[in-house]
């Protein structure tokens, strides 16, 4: 049912764009140069994003310069941004919220626009809202998944777990969790609480009970370092791990090292490649859930910046910049994986992208007079695995 409605909405959108196409014909966008600052210099997301952007460059008359930010060194980030500005960019898309105060200052000085993607800008949002989000040069950000304030990942995790239990001959009854520290991903702590509550609810009405080891701050909070093997000695008897933290890099290696990857199922976020070999019913069947945000969500900051560059704006453009949740690909079955493996995220081939250059052009205010912020914003809610499956 849900699926159906979603797909309907999406269909309507596409139609709207198609119409837009016609009306927008002829509007030649200004040339723009945009800097993209990634959170890491390699990996699927980076390759795919580059491929996607490059595919747009002609239609939108925009060229891209890339750099990479660090998660820990403000000075380095500012330097990287300054170099981008030096390269003469009109706008910058960031995937990291570190040293943002200084960065936004640079942007204001140089008259360069800043926007984010795959990043909740939580520190800026909660601590420096006026400085960052109220700056006329900060245009907003598309979060990687849910915003900390409307987290649903706990629910998602349980539903994936239950879906698995439904089809598995040996359902999981005892799981432990792993999260990143709250300062980096506040939503994960919330998600964890959510999950525990949901399980409690579930246990009231269902058998067999699912036992959840409670979060041990010393052990289960991964400081962006691999989980260590004593984890399994301390969470004895678990048959599943709910890792809100990116499991492929930080949990799975340890599982392999400790030789438990055959006996323990992993529900986690992110997708870094290689999981497909042991996903669902394949290989050791370790991975039962992966979650990623579509790289196409970069369309949001891209469009906002291009509007500014072209000196136009949406009629319904909000006063202050927003951070908006994006829906995620929640891959928790062989079919999902199959669908995912045909997406640009996995193939890195622009042809597999959700939007054609024309469609993107039609999301912009200069490419399509009827385009609205609401429509753009709504897009990001329709980048689910179901949308892919179509």
């Amino acid at each position: 049912m849900k699926k159906l409605t979603k797909s309907l909405v999406a269909l309507m959108l596409v139609l709207a764009m198609a119409l837009g196409c016609v009306s927008a014909a002829g509007a030649e966008p200004k040339h723009a140069k945009i800097g993209v600052a990634f959170y890491q210099d390699t990996g699927y997301a980076v390759v795919a994003t580059k491929a996607y952007l490059e595919s747009l460059s002609e239609a939108l008359n925009v060229e891209f310069v890339y750099t990479v930010l660090t998660q820990t060194d403000e000075a380095a980030n500012v330097a990287a941004i300054q170099n981008l500005i030096s390269a003469g960019v009109d706008g910058i898309i960031c995937t990291m919220d570190l040293g943002t105060n200084a960065i936004i200052e640079e942007c204001e000085m140089a008259g360069v626009y800043l926007a984010g993607y795959l990043c909740d800008y939580d520190v800026s949002y909660t601590q420096n809202f006026d400085r960052v989000f109220k700056s006329e040069y900060f245009l907003g950000t598309a979060t990687d998944g849910q915003n900390p304030d409307d987290t649903t990942i706990g629910h998602t995790m349980l539903s994936s777990l239950l879906e698995y239990n439904a089809r598995a001959e040996k359902p999981l009854t005892h799981v432990s969790m792993a999260i990143f520290p709250a300062w980096a991903f506040p939503s994960q702590e919330t998600g964890a609480k959510q999950f525990v509550e949901d399980v409690a609810k579930y246990n009231e009405t269902n058998d067999p009970d699912i036992l959840v080891d409670e979060l041990d701050p010393a052990l289960d909070v991964l400081m962006f370092t691999q989980m260590d093997t004593t984890y399994f000695s301390k969470h004895t008897g678990i048959d599943g791990i709910i890792s809100f933290a990116a499991g492929t890099s930080f949990v799975y290696p340890t599982m392999v090292q400790a030789g438990v990857d055959k006996d323990i199922r992993l529900f986690t976020t992110g997708f870094e490649g290689g999981e497909e070999n042991n996903f669902g019913t394949k290989g050791t069947q370790t991975f039962q859930q992966n979650m990623v945000s579509a790289v196409e969500s970069i369309t949001y900051p891209l469009v906002l910046i291009l509007n500014k560059v072209n000196g136009v704006t949406f009629p319904d453009m909000p006063e202050t910049a927003e951070r908006i949740s994006t829906s995620q690909f929640c891959i928790n079955s062989d079919e999902d994986l199959d669908a995912f493996m045909h997406s640009i995220y996995y193939t890195g081939n622009a042809a597999d992208a959700m939007f054609t250059p024309e469609q993107v052009l039609n999301m912009t205010a200069f490419g399509n007079p009827d385009a609205t912020y609401a429509a753009l914003r709504d897009l990001l809610a329709h980048m689910t695995i179901e949308d892919l499956a179509k």
């Binding site: 330097a79 500005i85 570190l98 040293g99 000085m109 520290p181």
Partner: protein, 332 residues
């Protein structure tokens, strides 16, 4: 280590001059090249780029200038990066605790004191325990890495900050001017002590032949400590200058400074073995070359994955020219 200047080179014929100054020439040539590229590709935002380069290079230059004393003794310090990190964090903590200009002053003084202490440690402990100085600095590296980690854990966030308005003039012009002034001041001070006072002469002597220097009545231990402390002072100042930029610090603040400084000094033609050929200019020349290079490569739009490759090649070319040792056994 250093090549024999044979009498031929003493006659001031031009080739001989070249032969004698090949290091400097190569180093300056490198700087010139990057500078030209900078002017070409700096394009529309030249003024902005200039100040970006200034701000990026300022901390490194200051620390590298201090490092000249240490490197001229033939030693190196791998702990700088982590020191910078910890100092930055401490400074911010103190400023936030005390608040206002007073906080800034106290913070800086506290950090300065700590830096001097580490300098003394680096210099003295190595002598007392008869350790190669690299070991003490390895220890400090491990130690400060840990300290930085624990400090940040205690804050429960990955980045703590103070308003930059506390640390520097809000007006860009004034800020940049301040940077220039600081750099010039430090450069002059270091040049003075390195060229025209006992400190520099002794450190170079220690680098060239410690025994002989000691037997010429130099209390080597004491001067080692002093040299390291001078370095420490520069590290503290450099940290402050770095803070002026972002006003914030975290787990990774300062990462890579130790290596950057080594690379910069090498690019500037500083012999890692120390000795009489050490010179202050290598800090300035090297750092500017390095920073300009990075800036050039971005402005030229060199592919992200290629940048490091290009840098590496340039580095190798320069060292092959500047650090080549003719004749004798292979240099260790």
């Amino acid at each position: 280590m250093t090549t024999k200047t044979n009498p031929a080179e003493k006659r001031s014929s031009f080739p001989a001059f070249l032969g004698r100054h090949v290091y400097d020439i190569a180093a300056y040539a490198g700087l010139a090249a990057t500078l030209i590229l900078f002017l070409i590709f700096g394009g529309s935002r030249l003024a902005y780029n200039a100040q970006a380069v200034l701000q990026t290079s300022a901390p490194t230059i200051i620390i590298a200038l201090g490092a000249v004393f240490v490197y001229s003794m033939g030693y190196m310090d791998v702990s700088v990066g982590q020191q910078v990190g910890v100092y930055a964090i401490l400074m911010i903590m103190i400023i936030n605790a005390v608040g206002g200009a007073l906080g800034v002053v106290l913070g800086f003084l506290a950090v300065l004191a700590l830096a001097l202490l580490c300098g003394a440690f680096n210099g003295a402990v190595a002598v007392w325990l008869k350790l190669p100085s690299i070991v003490t600095s390895l220890f400090l590296m491990f130690f400060f890495t840990g300290a930085q980690f624990l400090l940040m854990e205690s804050t429960g966030t990955n980045s703590i900050s103070v308003p930059t308005s506390l640390l520097r003039p809000a007006d860009r012009g004034a800020y940049n001017l301040l940077l220039v002034v600081i750099i010039v001041a430090v450069a002059l001070a270091v040049t003075y002590f390195f060229r025209f006072s006992k400190l520099g002469k002794y450190t170079r002597g220690i680098g060239a032949n410690e025994t002989a220097t000691a037997q010429s009545g130099v209390a080597t231990t004491r001067w080692k400590v002093i040299a390291y402390m001078a370095f420490g002072a520069c590290v503290a100042l450099g940290t402050y200058v770095m803070l002026m930029r972002t006003g914030s610090a975290g787990k990774g603040t300062g990462t890579g400074y130790a290596m950057d400084i080594m690379i910069c000094l090498i690019l500037g033609g500083m012999p890692l073995s120390g000795g009489m050929k050490s010179k202050v200019s290598s800090a300035l020349v090297g750092t500017l070359t390095y920073v300009l290079l990075t800036n050039d490569l971005t402005t030229m739009g060199v592919d992200l994955n290629m940048i490091n490759f290009v840098k590496a090649l340039i580095f190798i070319v320069i060292i092959l020219i500047t650090c080549r040792r003719r004749g004798g056994v292979l240099p260790r």
